[in-house]
């Protein structure tokens, strides 16, 4: 890999300044994604600003919600008592991701900003609009088994690979950011973007902006939740399709629902219409089938991923059944 400078920053301010100043400087958190990309020559920063020791690794109550520091480790969040009690969906999603070793190193901020696993993106000898805007999309007519069925553009059909983010978008989280122009908050659903004409942009973060925390509001989804991840092997594999499902039940009646999917789009894919279709229904396979049908509106498959058009609705129904306690 290309030689680079390594700087360990002690304050958010100095870290942000360092990145703003130097066009090819980047933040380094756990390094589990960035260093891989550097080894493959996909990303070639001249300078790494290590933010992993900044004091943003706490998980704390904030009102009736919770604030999770951006440098909190994936395993730390997954194992946190408060999270497990109040937002178990997040814990389930985190534990479905990567491997124990990676989760011990990966941070919340880094997880959100991990890049797609599209094989063409990773191979610098191939065309990829995300890596090199304008070069073409190798996957569209290539091997696209892992790729998106929602929200694609002619320029990119990649998926966002995170599991954690699927739970966070379902739970209406908010992202807290500090940047050269001060602080701002971004609703989680608006944090990642669709590829459109600019597949090189995964999200709405500006250069030099540092994620400091993610907050989740109070939630009634403490019991009837499930994160279903369908993958090619039992662990340490990215999702073919994943579903975060959460139900608020009043007896057999669904008071409210949260649904989001992973492995299907360039961003965590929230299923608002499907959620609506569930409200007021009583728990039943038929109601879940209906929701799955609604969820699939607008889906489009490619040569190798057309199976997701069936796997996705099946998985939605299955996740809801498990969340509702209809199946084990």
């Amino acid at each position: 890999m290309k030689a680079f400078q390594y700087v360990r920053s002690t304050t958010a301010k100095s870290a942000i300044e360092a990145v703003v100043k130097d066009p090819s400087a980047m933040f380094l958190a756990g390094g589990t994604n960035l260093v891989d990309l550097m080894k493959r020559g996909v990303t070639e920063p001249d300078k790494l600003i290590d933010i992993s020791r900044l004091p943003y690794n706490k998980i704390e109550k904030e009102g009736s919600g919770v604030r999770i520091g951006a440098m909190a480790l994936n395993s730390q969040v997954a194992d946190d008592k408060l999270i497990q009690e109040k937002w178990p969906l997040l814990s389930l999603a985190l534990n479905a991701g990567a491997s124990a070793q990676l989760r011990n190193k990966a941070t919340v901020g880094g997880n959100m900003l991990q890049r797609t696993r599209c094989g063409y993106f990773y191979d610098t000898a191939m065309d990829c609009n995300k890596r090199e805007p304008g070069s073409g999309c190798g996957a569209k007519e290539g091997y696209n088994r892992m790729h998106a069925i929602f929200g694609t553009s002619e320029h990119c059909i990649a998926v966002h690979p995170s599991d954690m983010c699927i739970a966070l978008v379902a739970l209406d989280a908010t992202v807290r950011v500090q940047g050269p122009k001060g602080e701002r908050t971004i609703p989680f659903a608006d944090f990642h973007r669709l590829p459109g004409d600019h597949p090189e942009k995964d999200n709405t973060l500006e250069k030099g902006e540092l994620i400091t925390a993610v907050t989740i509001p109070d939630s009634p989804y403490t019991k009837n939740v499930h994160y279903l991840k369908v993958r090619d092997r039992s662990s340490y594999a990215f999702a073919l399709v994943s579903v975060a499902a959460a139900l608020e039940l009043d007896g057999k009646t669904i008071k409210s629902a949260r649904l989001a999917m992973g492995g299907v789009a360039h961003k965590p894919w929230r299923l608002l219409e499907a959620e609506k279709s569930l409200v007021g229904q009583s728990v039943s396979e038929a109601a879940f089938q209906k929701a799955a049908e609604v969820a699939m509106t607008g889906a489009k498959g490619y040569e190798y991923n057309a199976f997701k058009l069936k796997l996705a609705p099946n998985s939605i129904v299955e996740a809801l059944k498990i969340a509702a306690g209809l199946t084990a």
């Binding site: 890999m1 290309k2 030689a3 020559g41 491997s99 696993r117 094989g119 063409y120 990773y122 191979d123 000898a125 191939m126 190798g138 007519e141 290539g142 091997y143 088994r145 279903l228 369908v230 993958r231 090619d232 092997r233 039992s234 662990s235 340490y236 594999a237 990215f238 073919l240 199976f307 069936k310 796997l311 099946n314 998985s315 129904v317 299955e318 199946t327 084990a328």
Partner: protein, 738 residues
């Protein structure tokens, strides 16, 4: 007292276990050599054509770089100059000549080797080498090129075969014809491939290699550089897995030796995980068709088996894909066809269970399909067509206990709870299926030589240039020596992995214990004999046949006071040590008299998720009919490892090429899925454990290959039993079942 675990049949722990778990075992890449520099390869980015121009300037000027080797400046290779490359050591030499000309034969082929003072600097400089190519149209897709298949010219046993009537299955009352596809699989041992090479003078080379045969590597390098064999030293004491990939010398090894010459310093090359897919072999993608027909009662009348096998365009690779079909069942009419399809990719190389593992997927799936067509239990069908003799060569089996294995496996897995109707059983919301399959591999034995040396202190040194890529060879050898000599294992040392030791064959084809073990057995026997002869009157003329060898002593069985220790024998004779070197091999006559094969049977129980198509192997039973089991512990591990490999073959592993570019798209460990712990169920390993009277003095038969052969079809068969879906193209990923 003999410690039973240290004898043949015991459960002794690995002799190198402590070294391995404490980091004391030194692998090729870990050798500390003064002045060492590092090599990194530059891969081609086209699939076929010629290098028009290669710009190495930037790389040469990068910090720390000592040289950039290409076809333009590489030192000449004597064998290449003499156009003898293909002759180097019977096909185990690199078929592709490293940096010899501008031709590109496959995507990822090394076109340059950058040498720098650190690995990181070499890696960066390698990214600066840019080439212009004259590109030609390439072909990498097997399916589109089946018509180009050739009859192999290098392997007689793979010519078209016919016994009885051709395609007789077609006229049988019950018949079927199906296609079975195996994707490219990659060995992917944990240890990356590579070599550390150093010139000790203008005509002397030392290498630290990752090889399955130090003598093989020595011979290839000697042939390639036209040096006397003794001038090439190969060290390879520990190998971190290989599965067949190190059964030959690869072009990048020769390239590293050239680089060491160029910079006149030792050079180490460790290839990347990505390169493990592109330049170091694989199990070839194979299209097969099987036609099989039987009477309504289940007597198989005819079988036809066709195989088309992925190959490179610069040499021929063959493996025994259609072999098992000729003898596994008693079938009067058999024909097989094997074709190699040259494509613009790197050459394949044997991978665990070469040929048979691929062939067994087709054959054992077809047998299973036939059993459903007949509405018959698949074990019953196999028993009904069991061959009392080898039907291919009309020879008696040296031993064949496959029927015992069927019974043992059926009992263990709970075969009686299987339903013969597919998709008829559910458990915890999952479809439940049971499946089984048979595997076989030749019980080979090759000539080998061993030296056994009794030292003055009563310790025994055993030596042979064998490899131990992980199965526990060294441990089994120590047990064989312990058994013959009656010496505790702690007093025995076995040296291996050095080219200056007595001749041993490559570690391939499950033949090491049979070959090297026999040599050690015979050498020890002779050494023991000599010690008896030198024992003077200590044994009070006890009959030689009755003597007892225990605790480092020779004793008379009647009168235990009539005994003498080996050390004492040497002392009395004023000998510092006593040494025997002996070659051992199976007489050709014997080989012609018997059909010698190992057999395996795999049983599995699977769960299949009805909504997501996810398959979970819930329980597996792996059985081996492999003669005497020398070490039950390491043999169990072998069988388990093979079963895990079979899970990968059946459910997860597939190396994928984008044929538009001829490039792999998943050549890494995140996207090429080998099974993880969570994919592996309880695996029960059972041994028939009956001595084969003819194979070798221990009565053992090979185990490494059969451990995987048959596991994949057993799983595919179980998946059919669970779901009613017959997947004929591996791996069985969830998308194929929903």
């Amino acid at each position: 007292m003999k410690n039973k675990d240290e004898m043949i049949g015991g459960r002794m722990s690995r002799v190198d276990a402590v070294l391995k778990v404490t980091g004391g075992a030194t692998y090729f890449a870990e050798y500390e050599v003064p002045n060492l520099v590092y090599g990194v390869l530059v891969p081609s980015t086209i699939t076929k054509g010629r290098i028009k121009n290669i710009d190495t300037k930037k790389a040469e000027n990068a910090p720390g770089v000592l040289a950039v080797l290409t076809h333009l400046n590489a030192p000449k290779v004597p064998a290449y100059e003499a156009k003898e490359a293909s002759k180097t050591s019977s096909g185990r030499g690199p078929g592709l000549m490293a940096f010899h000309n501008a031709d590109v034969h496959f995507n990822g082929q090394p076109i340059a080797l950058v040498v720098a003072d650190t690995f990181e600097r070499a890696t960066y400089a390698a990214s600066l080498v840019k080439a212009d190519y004259q590109e030609e149209k390439h072909q990498t897709e097997l399916k589109a090129n089946l018509a180009k298949g050739n009859v192999p010219s290098t392997n007689k046993s793979l010519q078209d075969y016919q016994r009885g009537e051709k395609d007789a299955y077609k006229t049988a009352p019950v018949n079927l014809e199906e296609e079975y596809v195996l994707p490219t699989e990659v060995h992917n041992p944990m240890e990356l491939h590579g070599i550390l090479a150093q010139w000790d003078g203008p005509d002397r080379i030392t290498v630290y290699a990752k090889t399955q045969g130090v003598k093989m590597t020595q011979q290839v390098i000697a042939d390639t550089f036209k040096l006397p064999k003794e001038n090439v030293q190969v060290h390879s004491q520990f190998v971190g897995g290989a599965f067949g990939m190190s059964l030959r010398v690869w072009p990048h090894e020769i390239a590293t030796i050239l680089a060491a010459k160029k910079v006149n310093r030792p050079v180490k090359l460790v290839i990347t995980r990505n390169e493990m897919f592109t330049i170091a072999g694989y199990r070839p993608h194979t299209h097969q068709k099987v036609g099989i027909g039987a009477t309504k009662e289940g007597k198989i009348l005819g079988i036809s088996h066709w195989a088309h096998v992925q190959n490179s365009n610069y040499e021929e690779f063959t493996e025994a894909t259609v072999a098992m079909t000729k003898f596994m069942y008693q079938i009067p009419n058999v024909n097989t066809t094997y074709r190699v399809v040259p494509l613009d990719i790197c050459s394949p190389v044997p991978m665990r269970g070469p040929g048979e593992a691929t062939g067994a997927f087709a054959l054992e799936s077809a047998i299973d399909e036939l059993s459903y067509a007949l509405n018959m239990d698949p074990i019953e069908l196999r028993l009904l067509n069991y061959p009392e003799k080898d039907p291919e060569r009309d020879l008696p089996w040296s031993s064949n206990y496959v029927r015992d294995a069927y019974q043992m496996g059926a009992d263990k897995i709970g075969w009686s709870s299987r339903s013969n109707t597919p998709k008829s059983k559910m458990e915890d919301g999952m479809w439940v299926g049971y499946g089984m399959a048979t595997g076989t591999f030749g019980a080979h034995r090759r000539p080998a030589t061993a030296r056994a040396c009794m030292n003055g202190d009563g310790t025994l040194l055993v030596q042979s240039a064998a490899s131990d890529i992980g199965p526990g060879t060294g441990t089994a050898i120590v047990q064989i020596a312990a058994e013959v000599m009656g010496i505790p294992a702690a007093k025995i040392r076995f040296d291996l992995g050095e080219s200056n030791l007595p001749d041993a064959p490559i570690q391939g084809g499950s033949a090491t214990v049979a070959s090297v073990g026999s040599a050690v057995h015979d050498a020890c026997l002779e050494l023991r004999q000599k010690l008896v002869e030198l024992s003077g009157n200590a044994l009070k003329n006890a009959k030689v046949e009755t003597l007892v060898y225990e605790d480092g002593k020779i004793s008379s069985p009647k009168d235990r006071s009539a005994s003498i220790s080996y050390a004492e024998v040497l002392k009395r004779n004023n000998l510092p040590k006593l040494e025997v070197t002996k070659e051992s091999k199976l007489e050709e006559e014997q080989q012609k008299k018997f059909a010698m094969y190992s057999f395996s049977v795999h049983f599995v129980k699977v769960h299949v998720h009805p909504a997501t198509g996810v398959v979970k192997v819930k329980h597996a039973v792996a059985l081996a009919d492999a003669g005497t089991i020398v070490n039950r512990k390491t043999a169990s591990s072998q069988m388990m490892g093979g079963a895990v490999g079979g899970i990968g073959m059946a459910l997860t592993e597939e190396a994928i090429i984008d044929h538009r570019f001829g490039r792999y798209v998943n050549n890494n460990f995140a996207d090429y899925h080998v099974p993880v712990n969570a994919d592996v169920p309880d695996i029960d390993v059972l041994f028939v454990d009956k001595k084969d009277p003819y194979t070798n003095p221990m009565g053992s038969k090979g185990l490494g290959e059969i451990a995987i052969i048959g596991m994949a079809p057993a799983i595919a068969n179980a998946v059919y039993n669970a779901t009613g879906k017959r997947v004929r193209e591996l791996p069985i990923t969830p998308d194929k079942l929903i």
